[in-house]
């Protein structure tokens, strides 16, 4: 209704500027990168000219390299594996947090929620750096762990620059993304369902596993997508906390663009990552929509 007499001009005055900006600085660069994946690397890095002797030079060489050299598929699978583990651990940690917040009284709820969000708003690098301190070779944790290991006659292990460091920091950085959608879902659950189940003799575990958890699945899928996608493309955490074995797809992309300067191949890797990210986001949205008995419909039925 509001749009009735604003006219087409008014509409485009509002849509136009942000759309134009994003077409230039988001869509165009993305398309140029897609095109770059079919081009030939330049002699001194970057890209070689698109027009070579009057012919357009586009080829599938970089894609062929990705699909024939198994090292890249392995690194990609390793990234998927790390992102999956991160998602799983985030879910395990987030569930009690989200449940507690959802069950709290109105007065405490906003504060408890804010406490989950605040670390997310502190600088990303600072949160990675914090784990450098905690896991450092001279810090209390490493001395304690290696003390115990020495006692059982095991070699000391470094905590920093290891897969363990990378994983714990991945979980740490992404945890709020899992808590928020899970909380938003749990908050809408109808207590009457749980009361009814209890009256019918279901114990606490049964009530959780047969009622709460299935109803929370849309929140779980949303949280999983919000954690999995950024975790898949991360490069700074393995770069700072990982050992040489922990190089993930993000690190290879960074290397191709800034060190090896093979832009076509870097673009191929970026496209693979984009396709994976969008596929997962689409899948999560599709599954979430398809799950039956969503809490929102339960809530509507109640109202």
């Amino acid at each position: 209704m509001a749009a009735r007499s604003d006219g087409r001009l008014g509409k485009w005055l509002v849509i136009g500027p942000p759309l134009a900006y994003l077409l230039v600085f988001f869509a165009a660069p993305a398309l140029i990168m897609a095109l770059a994946s079919f081009r030939t690397p330049g002699e001194f890095g970057g890209l070689s000219p698109l027009l070579e002797n009057g012919k357009i030079d586009l080829n599938l060489d970089s894609y062929a390299r990705f699909f024939t050299d198994s090292i890249y598929a392995q690194i990609f699978l390793k990234s998927v594996w790390y992102a999956l583990l991160t998602t799983l651990f985030c879910l395990l940690l987030a569930y009690p947090l989200a449940t507690l917040i959802a069950k709290s009284g109105k007065r405490h709820r906003d504060l408890l929620l804010l406490l989950v969000i605040l670390p997310f708003w502190s600088n990303f690098l600072i949160r990675v750096y914090a784990w450098m301190i905690i896991l450092g070779p001279n810090a209390a944790l490493a001395r304690m762990v290696n003390g115990v290991l020495a006692w059982v006659g095991h070699e000391p292990v470094p905590l920093l620059f290891s897969s363990f460091a990378v994983l714990i920091c991945l979980v740490y950085v992404h945890l709020p993304f899992m808590v928020l959608p899970l909380y938003a879902n749990l908050e809408k659950h109808d207590q009457a369902l749980l009361d009814a189940a209890q009256d019918l003799g279901a114990n606490a575990w049964q009530r959780f596993w047969r009622i709460t958890f299935p109803l929370s699945l849309p929140g779980v899928y949303a949280g999983a997508a919000l954690v999995f996608i950024p975790a898949l493309g991360i490069f700074a955490i393995p770069d700072i906390l990982g050992g040489p074995e922990d190089s993930l797809i993000g690190n290879v992309i960074k290397q191709q663009f800034l060190e090896t300067r093979d832009w076509p191949f870097g673009s191929v890797l970026s496209i693979v990552l984009t396709v994976a990210a969008l596929a997962i986001a689409g899948f999560a949205a599709w599954v979430a929509r398809g799950s039956l008995g969503t809490p929102s419909s339960a809530g509507e039925a109640r109202a």
Binding site: A2, D6, L19, P119, S122, Y172, A236, A277
Partner: protein, 256 residues
């Protein structure tokens, strides 16, 4: 209130401890009178004093502030328009453009902008970083503004139009004042995102330009020093203050 079992409390407390202990350690060691971030030796302000005499750090902070001011101003204007457009006109193409940068891994935007700027022969530096920051901040501002509009009574704008206000007058004198808390919250978020951004800045800054996060990155790649703790503590204080103000302005924000 019923059924808050001790097990749930313990698990949730462990979750909060996991979230906060690392940050507390960074802050505490920034006052520690020892080069090693390993154990408490004694209290000192030395690391902060060092910080304020570190020319590189100060110039990086200056760059970060300048970029964040420009990026938050422009992205707030564009993001507010985008939020209004998405809410009123259900602009599909715009919504995709606004939300996708938030949904994909940051590195993708970083590398695609790198190719783009180099192809345009734009020298990488403050300008390219600011242009990149605006692109990813628009979405966050738009989401906040749209949430605020959704909680607003549209009939007020209708009434203004019925009383003969032009669309611009209705927006300027009715809609804008009502969504102002959302706009300010969006601006604060954009400022925070810009001043904190590492990944996209890393790819679009080029060799000569250093922002605060880039400076922190190069310091921690070399060694762990309490000077990093000191700058981290100050940066945390700044961003946390901004975010607390932003969430106060839009209490319903993090529910959506």
């Amino acid at each position: 209130m019923r059924r808050r079992s001790p097990a749930l409390w313990t698990a949730a407390l462990a979750g909060y401890a996991f979230l906060y202990i690392p940050l507390v350690i960074v802050v505490v060691y920034s006052f520690n009178d020892s080069r090693l971030n390993a154990e408490w030796v004694g209290f000192t302000f030395d690391w902060y004093r060092k910080l304020f005499h570190n020319e590189e750090m100060l110039s990086a902070a200056g760059n970060s502030l300048l970029i964040a001011l420009v990026a938050s101003a422009v992205s707030t204007a564009l993001g507010t328009m985008a939020g209004v457009a998405m809410y009123r006109y259900r602009a599909k193409l715009l919504a995709v453009q606004v939300l996708t940068p938030i949904a994909i891994p940051e590195i993708l935007m970083g590398v695609s902008l790198l190719i783009f700027f180099v192809m345009l022969n734009l020298t990488l530096g403050l300008a390219s970083v600011a242009l990149a920051h605006i692109a990813f901040c628009i979405g966050f501002v738009a989401i906040v503004v749209r949430a605020r509009l959704a909680g607003m009574d549209e009939s007020l704008t209708e009434a203004a139009r019925d009383c003969g206000a032009t669309p611009w007058q209705a927006f300027r004198h009715v809609t804008l004042p009502l969504i102002m808390p959302g706009v300010i919250a969006g601006a604060l978020m954009a400022f925070t995102l810009s001043i904190d951004d590492f990944v996209i800045t890393f790819f679009t800054a080029g060799a000569g330009t250093v922002t605060l996060p880039l400076q922190i990155y190069s310091m921690i790649k070399i060694a762990v020093t309490p000077e990093v703790n000191a700058v981290s503590t100050l940066l945390m204080l700044l961003t946390l203050a901004l975010i607390v103000v932003a969430t106060r302005l839009t209490p319903s924000l993090f529910r959506n």
